[in-house]
């Protein structure tokens, strides 16, 4: 997305500077997706395409309701349908609206090498500032939810913006506005958590003993949350991670390795300079040239005296 709210940044990718924090009274927002109310109409998908001017290429049919089959640079949200058979042999049709979770601790932003290509606003929205994106795909490796997609056309990474442009002017995200059942709600994170609590009580009273809120602590919570009927098994919802967290490989690469590597390189260079200062250059001395001369001359004389001797006898 475009760079609309630069004074609201609380995190900036690949930056060693403290982000501006002039406006500090912003409430953290959240989108609450109540999977138990979703009817799979895809109005949210259509609204997302409308508002963000996105049209993905026409794909192909593979015997599922998922259309298109996956998220893409032009598909920022996607209804994923899964048929789940519970222990009693009952079939449940679980429909999850997939898209960026807007992590409080965003792995994409941690991994990003381009300053200001990924930012987090004070309201919690994680946004890609496309003009700064270099298309390396590090965000894809950083993300615990497999969300960002790199465009083959302009080599930039794209994902849901949580309609940061709409939210900035006091509107709800397009998907929220379009949802006909009220399965997608938007508001402050506190309000949404409270609302989810009421809904979960209701679900529990109706036999969904494991109903719960998906706000995974492994990424310090998310600004897109789900109400799940089976919060004990998130993975049955088309592979929603049970305990998402930034990969240890990414943490090591972006955490410990950066300072250690720079220190190692600097130490190697400093060692060279110190050695130069303490020991100095290794110069060929006149004695070396004389010794070499003697070797060459002696060898030549022996050869002249007996050209048939083998070289092994000379050394």
């Amino acid at each position: 997305m475009s760079n609309l709210q630069s004074q609201d940044y609380i995190r900036i990718s690949a930056s060693t500077l403290t982000p501006p924090s002039i406006r500090n009274h912003q409430a953290e927002v959240a989108k609450l997706i109540d999977v138990t109310r979703c009817i799979g109409c895809k109005a949210c998908q259509a609204a997302c395409m409308e508002w963000n001017d996105l049209r993905s290429d026409v794909g192909y049919f593979e015997g599922t309701y998922d259309n298109p089959l996956d998220l893409g640079p032009s598909t920022w949200t996607l209804m994923r349908f899964s048929e789940y058979e519970d222990g009693k042999g009952d079939l449940e049709w679980l429909i999850r609206k997939d898209g960026c979770m807007h992590c409080e601790d965003p792995g994409c932003l941690k991994a990003c090498p381009a300053p200001g290509a990924i930012v987090q606003y004070a309201n919690g929205i994680v946004d890609f500032i496309s003009e700064n994106c270099i298309g390396c795909g590090y965000c894809v490796k950083g993300c615990p939810f497999n969300i960002p997609r790199i465009s083959k056309v302009d080599h930039k990474s794209y994902k849901c913006t949580l309609c940061s442009d709409r939210v900035d002017v006091g509107l709800e995200p397009a998907c929220v506005k379009a949802c006909p059942t009220g399965a997608i709600m938007f508001g402050s994170k506190a309000d949404m958590t409270h609302w989810a609590g009421e809904r979960i009580e209701d679900l529990k009273s109706r036999g969904f003993a494991n109903a719960g809120l998906y706000d995974p602590p492994g990424v310090s919570g998310t600004h897109v949350m789900y109400v799940l009927h089976h919060a004990d098994k998130p993975s049955i919802y088309s592979g929603l991670p049970d305990n998402p967290r930034i990969s240890n490989f990414v943490s090591a690469w972006k955490g410990l390795l950066k300072p250690v590597a720079l220190a190692g390189v600097v130490m190697a260079a400093v060692s060279g300079i110190l050695h130069w200062v303490i020991e100095g250059p290794n110069e060929v001395e006149p004695g070396d040239e004389m010794a070499a001369r003697r070797l060459i001359d002696d060898t030549a004389e022996q050869k002249l005296a007996d050209p048939h001797r083998s070289p092994d006898e000379l050394t």
């Binding site: 090498p113 700064n132 270099i134 490796k141 990414v250 130069w276 250059p281 070396d288 070499a292 060898t299």
Partner: protein, 226 residues
């Protein structure tokens, strides 16, 4: 080649061109790679025309480096095989560092330090190449799992840092041991340089009547040198 009479050929023109092409690739890869590794160094991406260009060109330079280094391996591997002289030389490393080379056991064309640089790069460059392919987003992103790509990224970074440190050692050694830089720019060394640093190599050359860089297979009658 502006080789004075009596000087030995340390590196042929083809070797030197091969070396400096490799060196140029390595420097460009270090600049572009480091700019994508640490935010403090992102400004170096400007040298390549911005972040998008840096990201796009880095893997292609990597391919050039792999091919170029392969050329060096073909030319150098035989003289870089480990032998018992290398252990003796390594055990005398304190005297090497103190410039007291008269007390150091003599070695052939390459000493253990040079062999370390050679084999380190011979290992690290293929590692960098294959991990680099895995994380080459434009062409190869769909061939491996994201978890594999995470491992490849970490491995690529570690191998790159190791290669850069080895490279710093290589460059410093060339500056420190006077005459080595000319051996790779103009290609020749004085007999005294060969005597001081690679005495066994010098003896082999003299015994077989070769002016370098390798001894003759068939010994030849030696003319008296002036």
């Amino acid at each position: 080649m502006t080789r004075p009479k009596g000087a030995f050929i340390r590196n042929t023109t083809a070797t030197r061109l091969n070396h400096w092409f490799t060196a140029a690739c390595f420097v460009l890869l270090t600049l572009s790679g480091m700019s994508m590794f640490h935010p403090l160094l992102f400004w170096m991406s400007g040298l390549f025309g911005g972040g998008q260009w840096t990201r796009a060109v880095h893997p292609w330079i990597g391919i050039a480096l792999l091919l170029s280094y392969f050329g060096l391996v073909v030319q150098f591997w035989r003289d870089n095989l480990w032998n018992k002289d290398d252990l003796a030389w390594t055990l005398a490393i304190d005297r090497v560092l103190a410039n007291k080379e008269e007390d150091v056991p003599p070695v052939g064309r390459f000493n253990a330090g040079q062999k370390f640089v050679f084999w380190s790069m011979a290992l690290l460059i293929p590692v960098l190449f294959f991990t680099g392919l895995v994380i080459w987003e434009v062409y190869f992103a769909s061939y491996t799992s994201i978890e594999t790509q995470r491992v490849a990224l970490l491995t690529h970074s570690l191998a790159a840092i190791a290669a850069i440190i080895v490279w710093i050692i290589h460059v410093y050694a060339a500056i420190w041991v006077r005459g080595s830089m000319r051996a790779m720019t103009q290609g020749w060394v004085t007999p005294g340089w060969a005597w001081r640093h690679h005495r066994k190599w010098l003896r082999q050359l003299v015994a077989t009547g070769s002016m370098g860089p390798r001894p003759r297979a068939e010994p030849r009658r030696v003319r008296k040198q002036s």
